[in-house]
Symmetry: C2
Subunit: 156 residues, 2 copies
DNA sequence: GTCGCTGCAAAGTCTTTGCAGAGAG
DNA sequence: CTCTCTGCAAAGACTTTGCAGCGAC
């Protein structure tokens, strides 16, 4: 690969650390650590997919059938995690959001409009440029997201 | 402003031309040119906002009460326009999409998380970089979108 | 005239909320 | 024990669809 700083992301923290952060967060807000919240965090951690609430719910039902986790709990937990900046949501194309754990390095998305595959990438030049632009416009940048849509190698 | 290629967008075509394109599109697909479709196009053209279907519907009811345009027609026309690449949809934050006419220059969005204001910008360096990245990953780029979230000048 | 379009209302999705019992601290 | 969570079901919000009459061509 050339001089393009295009690197695939890596998980930056291990699960125990993530779980610890989650427990701290809960404690700080007087919330309880429940088995449902734990398996949702764990499932997000172990998934390389960008999960829609419904897909996550199915995964949970498959992996933890005895818990009978309700879809409402999935939505509530995702909102909680998103509000606490532990997960990020993306809304591509049609309707519905997809969630991914924020405990990965920051990255942007390349989305194949044919097969729907999402590829992640990071480009330092763009990252830096975004900061500059925000500064120039008197904006305090909190976050950003970028998507490139096209046809992937396999679909061509 | 410094050397940052940050320019605000300008409308690239006039309304008559846009309307002409729309008529051609309709004819090509054996669709009819109706007053409802025309006022929707016109309202989008005259709006500097990114419009949600509901907001657009309200605008239309205010401006053309005698037409009694139904919300279903708004949705159907927006889908038509989006499928034909005449409008683009964005889905920020919460739920629901917002639409804008595609007949503007390409631009990206800076979104204030406090007041919700959307500022548009273009940066050539980023544009170019996106093409390079897509190429490197064997991707044929069709489109892209970028959002920067933060706190705007006024809200600070 | 023909055939697509429209408004209306009903039906679908996706998401949130109310509630009573269950469970964490 | 207390007070939050959970699953369920009902309610909401947003979008799509079926239909009969209307209107563009």
């Amino acid at each position: 690969m050339s001089n393009v700083a295009t690197n695939f992301t890596q998980r930056t923290i291990n699960y125990d650390q993530l779980l610890g952060d989650f427990k701290v967060l809960l404690k700080k807000n007087n919330l309880k650590f429940t088995i449902q919240r734990e398996v949702i965090l764990e499932t997000l951690y172990n998934s390389d997919e960008h999960l829609a609430p419904e897909s996550l719910h199915h995964l949970l039902q498959d992996k933890f059938p005895e818990l009978k986790i309700g879809i409402a709990t999935v939505y509530r937990t995702l909102s909680l995690l998103e509000d606490s900046d532990m997960v990020t949501s993306l809304s591509f194309g049609a309707q519905g959001k997809k969630y991914e754990l924020g405990a990965k390095n920051h990255h942007d998305h390349l989305i194949c409009t044919s097969c729907g595959t999402i590829t992640e990438f990071v480009d330092e030049e763009i990252e830096e440029r975004q900061h500059n632009i925000a500064d120039e416009l008197g904006f305090t940048m909190q976050d950003h997201s970028m998507q490139i849509y096209g046809i992937c190698k396999n679909c061509k």
